[in-house]
């Protein structure tokens, strides 16, 4: 399933489509410290985090994740949104806690 399909299935907000229609979700990674994510998230993971700043977008590019899913209703500021558009990163948003989102992802893997 792609990030966009997943977002539509659970009515998650699509903050930026990016490559969200072109790549699959093959795994899940949950972490809020960017330096940890950078070295450990895997290709095509859906990365769930509350960290919504501009550096999160850069880390998503470095780790080459399928999408970022912002949990707990975290907002993306203008700078981060612009970076997501530039870098083609799919960013979704949900009011659910990280664990609940991970459970929804487990069902599609």
């Amino acid at each position: 399933m792609t990030p966009i399909e997943f977002a539509n299935k659970h009515s998650f907000e699509i903050l930026n489509e990016g490559e969200g229609n072109e790549r699959p979700i093959n795994g899940v990674y949950c972490c809020d410290l960017l330096s940890i994510v950078m070295g450990r998230a895997k290709l095509d993971d859906a990365w769930i985090t509350v960290m919504s700043n501009v550096n999160s977008i850069a880390v998503a590019v470095l780790a080459d994740v399928s999408c970022i899913i912002l949990s707990e209703g975290m907002a993306l500021d203008d700078q981060a949104t612009q970076k997501a558009v530039e870098q083609n990163v799919c960013v979704l948003k949900s009011n659910l806690p990280t664990y609940e989102i991970a459970l929804l992802l487990k069902d599609i893997l």
């Binding site: 330096s35 700043n53 850069a58």
Partner: protein
């Protein structure tokens, strides 16, 4: 931002002192010191360190020698992840004529693999002072990442991005321009009451409880 641009911009603005603090690196400081050599501008040798808690701490030193030693120690703790120039930009090292003399290969925006406590020890052994940076920000700040300012660290001063944000702290407060671009360098609107206009005078102010 080049050494000469920083120094000349600070002089144009009429600043007395600036702390030049790259992320996790001091390698451009020798050039900045050289560029300011025949001016009255006081340069505080500094580094903005990112610890493994992803907390930004401003580390200030008495001398170029101290900051370079400190830099050498913390560099070992910078993860061997290479910079991606397309995403994070170039990490150039310049000389006092603004010529490019090198490039840092490791990603400097990364977090060191040591925590605040260990960093404080390394700073202390180099006679430095540590100030938690932009404590009122929602990312990379000691309050956002630890929830509060632990007393056992015995900070004498904190830096607040927006002075209107009331932060509970028993000590000194400063606000920096945190300029990442030339045009962000502040006008002379923030002042310190120091005994003398020198690196040591400023360091003494920060070290006093």
């Amino acid at each position: 931002m080049t050494p000469n641009n920083i120094v000349n911009m600070a002089l144009l603005l009429g600043l007395d002192a600036i702390a030049v603090s790259d992320h996790n690196s001091s390698l451009n400081l020798p050039a900045v010191f050289d560029a300011a050599k025949n001016t009255d501008l006081v340069i505080i040798p500094a580094i903005e360190v990112c610890t493994n808690e992803e907390v930004h701490l401003l580390c200030l030193f008495h001398s170029l020698n101290d900051v370079m030693n400190f830099n050498e120690t913390i560099y070992e703790f910078l993860p061997p992840i290479k910079n991606n120039e397309n995403v994070f930009g170039k990490q150039l090292i310049l000389d006092s004529e603004d010529n490019i003399i090198g490039k840092e290969e490791k990603l400097l925006i990364n977090a060191l693999s040591i925590g605040i406590e260990q960093l404080l020890k390394i700073s202390k052994s180099n006679n430095g002072v540590v100030i938690p940076a932009h404590v009122d920000k929602h990312s990379y700040s000691i309050i956002s990442n630890l929830g509060f300012i632990p007393e056992e660290y015995e900070f004498t001063c904190i830096e607040i991005k927006n002075p209107e944000n009331k932060i509970q702290f028993n000590g000194k407060y400063i606000t920096n321009s945190d300029a990442h671009y030339l045009e962000n360098i502040s006008e002379p609107i923030h002042f310190l009451e120091v005994k003398e206009k020198s690196i040591d005078g400023i360091m003494e102010y920060f070290k006093e409880h």
